[in-house]
Subunit: 327 residues, 2 copies
Amino acid sequence: MAEKVTIATVARHARVSRQTVSNVLNSPHIVRQETRERVEQAIAALGYRANQAARQMRTGRSRLIAARIEPTRDGINGSVLDRFLHGLTETADAAGYRVLLYTATDHDREIATYDDLLGTYELDAFVLVGTTHDDPRTAWLTERGVPFVTFGRPWDALDAHPWVDVDGAAGTALATRHLLDAGHRRIAFLGWPVGSGVGDDRRAGWHDTLRAAGVDPTGLHRETEDGIAEGERLMRDLVAAGPTAVVCASDSLALGALQAVRGVHPQVSVIGFDDTPVAAAVGLTSVSQPLGEAAARCVDLLTGVLDDDQTSAPVLLQPSLALRHTA
Amino acid sequence: MAEKVTIATVARHARVSRQTVSNVLNSPHIVRQETRERVEQAIAALGYRANQAARQMRTGRSRLIAARIEPTRDGINGSVLDRFLHGLTETADAAGYRVLLYTATDHDREIATYDDLLGTYELDAFVLVGTTHDDPRTAWLTERGVPFVTFGRPWDALDAHPWVDVDGAAGTALATRHLLDAGHRRIAFLGWPVGSGVGDDRRAGWHDTLRAAGVDPTGLHRETEDGIAEGERLMRDLVAAGPTAVVCASDSLALGALQAVRGVHPQVSVIGFDDTPVAAAVGLTSVSQPLGEAAARCVDLLTGVLDDDQTSAPVLLQPSLALRHTA
DNA sequence: TTGTAGGCGTTATCAT
DNA sequence: ATGATAACGCCTACAA
């Protein structure tokens, strides 16, 4: 086991003071070039790495950001978060931050976890995935001045805090227009109960696109909790209204819808949302979110606040349509 | 923003020395009960939390363990790692550790990341998922005395280091026996090229079970890289051999097989491996790994080494069969 | 059983 | 441009 290399080791090796080494690390511009190069060589030669704990004690920053990993409910939608997490880890890494994981089963416990994480690890920031109306978590963080970004809009006040989101309405609009272009007129929608920001947004894209095309959407939508079984049940109900196609708020619902219309003639077109692996596996056409991009923008927003102390505008990303053979 | 609560604040509040507070925290038994209670009340009243950075500087331990998050290749197998990660986070949390994420595209870069993580964050341990023959990562960690556990056996020497694994051979044996019991005799196997520990293990379970039942497995297996398309291709090829059922090394392969036998009569039974969300969604019978349990045992092994300085025996978990309607 | 005195590695302040 | 000094919060001797 090699001896521990500290800033003092480097200083001795480069024949400068510890402070100069620190300056080379943190404010290179104030060090004379010749000195700086000597120090940099020593650093490389010794394989020196700044100790994060010591640095943190002085600066109060841990270069750690926290993200929550969810229980994989039906396991389909879970993959969305996972892909986001992967992108987050990569981008944060590039920006010099590491991602710390935590779990929580409800908002109260999640807030308690914030408190703990902040107290013991002095986390620099949080990335929240999914936001709800009157979200107590964002309120808590804002109140305490803790930096954070959400992947998902603050539905009550768009300027409440930095956020990144994907335009869900644009996604369902894309899907609806695709179906209209294919000649469909009776296009249904399967979504979530009114009141969830995400669900209402996705429904609006479908609704407004039909209206704009002069098609009456009345009676062609149904709402339920997310899930394959729920989707199947609602779609069976919807079939009586005679739709020739259906846009769904999630791949879970779409999968259920697919099962409900199996054997129905003429074939009912189905489009899902999220472009999950399951969609790819069964050939389900689905709205695709740029999750890697979303994660990257979250990190951008965070480093803006953390490193440059400047808050930037929210980011709304555009989804695309992954065409397969169900529509 | 509340004032920062340090050990000194607590000491003052409880009218004891800082040392006594520290003792209450780290060696409660040497503090008189009355004093201890007074200190504990002060801690609760002030909401004191030990600062991890300061503690780490003294003790050299960060209470952080690292785990890798993979790119979601075909997105199906990725879910296995995700479920494992979720379990890991929960269990580690309960044991007082946090999970730090990292990514790496190959073994060399992964080792470089170890070096970085160890140098700057002083990670306590690593959890590696998936092991290969002659794994350079485990060699590197062992060489440096870094604590780690693998989820996956060290295929070359079972006592090389602590590990947790699921008995893959038992899983395919379970699947094969289920098919035998259903009256099948021509049971095929779709797996990965010889040479991967996991793949060979899973093939062996199928092979040995057939042999034990007096059935000749010759000519009834095919090998390929993982993937739906690959599975479909190989299964088409296999159909000529007239199997009535097929056991697959993964759900991806099974999904491909399912597509290949669609329309073939009589219906060919298909069993996958990993019980991914996709399997649940399409009704694919699949071998299920106890991932949460595996994660928990990994943490057990780690805390054994980290906290009690004792190394425990490896853990081999048994899978089960999730019966659906493809077999 | 409790208190006192360092020091872990770093960076900020201030002097040179 | 560079160097000396103090301080971050905690823990581990050692002394009382």
